[in-house]
Symmetry: C2
Subunit: 186 residues, 2 copies
DNA sequence: CGTCACGGCGTACAGCGTACGTCATCGAAC
DNA sequence: GTTCGATGACGTACGCTGTACGCCGTGACG
């Protein structure tokens, strides 16, 4: 595995992505450059481009990795599906708080969109008609996204405790669900 | 007003900010550089720094300008205050759709925060106790922010009509308000 | 009339993403 | 055992960025 190694590559897309996440969490997203990342991996800058087509592509990989642990409950109760999705998803992201700006950047919303799509399917399996499922996903999705967007910097600067934010999140979510129950699902 | 003009300055912070907004809306936020902005104004690059301390400061100015038209209703009905804020605010931002990433960037959330603060005060004037007002602001704020975040790119790529998004926004908002009415304000 | 503060400007620097060309090394084919 | 194509690592170089710094011309004031 010395220098100038051929087919047997030390670098992999996964290693690159993992190192990028670590670097971003250690030094901040703004200080994540291809040069620094390569140095961290003991590789030449351009070698990264064998596993990642772009810096944008690297970002995509990082977001996929961050979002990987988000699972969707396969329940018969639509409220449970939605609540689990929103609550767990928010926790996962708040645990990777430095990477949130990456996840919610417009170019990367597709990844969150994929999850929303899966939730929609789960809701239909739980008996909601497609229109209601779509509305529920969109509405709760907004609450979820806004929570991630707004709660993260509030935690970063330390003005509020996470427990307090969790509480108002839960309050709002349950208000939203009961309201949707009455207005949409009925 | 020829070149090298002294105290009588052609440039002003406002002119710089307005031009920056125009340029960002014409060519995209990514193509807004200090050099291009200066060229657009027929000025030298560094002259901008006489009116703006930073590119960050320029961004702040732009966000303030975008957010300026958002007003807060001074009603006795807390639901009206909240609904007006969320609905109008969302419209204002969707009208400046290219600048949204700027407004909701973590470093600039302060500006939205100022508005939230004003809404909180209005809610207390309308009779809500401070705790309830804070909860309502936080909860509705999340829905509002998420709506701006998620609806904007969906509009940009043209997959959905604005009318449809407006409808689900209104649905969700009213669900949220009735739920909050029951759970928080009582 | 002297001087002084200030706005505009050009130059220069460090850092960025990445296109491109080269070279070492491997697995497979003969 | 030898050759060959593919692949990955690497160095160099280009164009672009934000902005620190210093100079110059000007209008206002004492």
């Amino acid at each position: 595995m010395a220098a100038g190694t051929g087919t047997t590559s030390a670098l992999t897309r996964e290693r690159v992505v993992v190192a990028a996440i670590a670097l971003a969490e250690r030094d901040g997203l703004a200080d994540l450059s291809m040069r620094r990342l390569a140095a961290e991996l003991g590789a030449g800058t351009m070698s990264l481009y064998n596993h990642v087509s772009d810096k944008e592509d690297l970002f995509d990989g990082m977001v996929e990795a961050v979002l990987a642990p988000v699972r969707i409950a396969d329940s018969a109760d639509w409220r449970e599906i939605v609540a689990t999705w929103a609550t767990d998803g928010r926790q996962v992201l708040l645990d990777r708080i430095d990477l949130i700006p990456l996840v919610i950047a417009p170019q990367r919303l597709v990844h969150l969109g994929r999850i929303s799509g899966a939730v929609g399917s789960a809701l239909e399996r739980a008996g909601l008609d497609p229109g209601a499922a779509a509305t529920v996903v969109r509405v709760v999705g907004r609450y979820f996204a806004g929570a991630v967007l707004l709660d993260a910097p509030r935690l970063r600067t330390g003005g509020v405790s996470r427990a307090a934010l969790d509480r108002t999140f839960a309050t709002g979510l349950s208000a939203l669900l009961s309201g949707l129950d009455a207005e949409v699902v009925g």
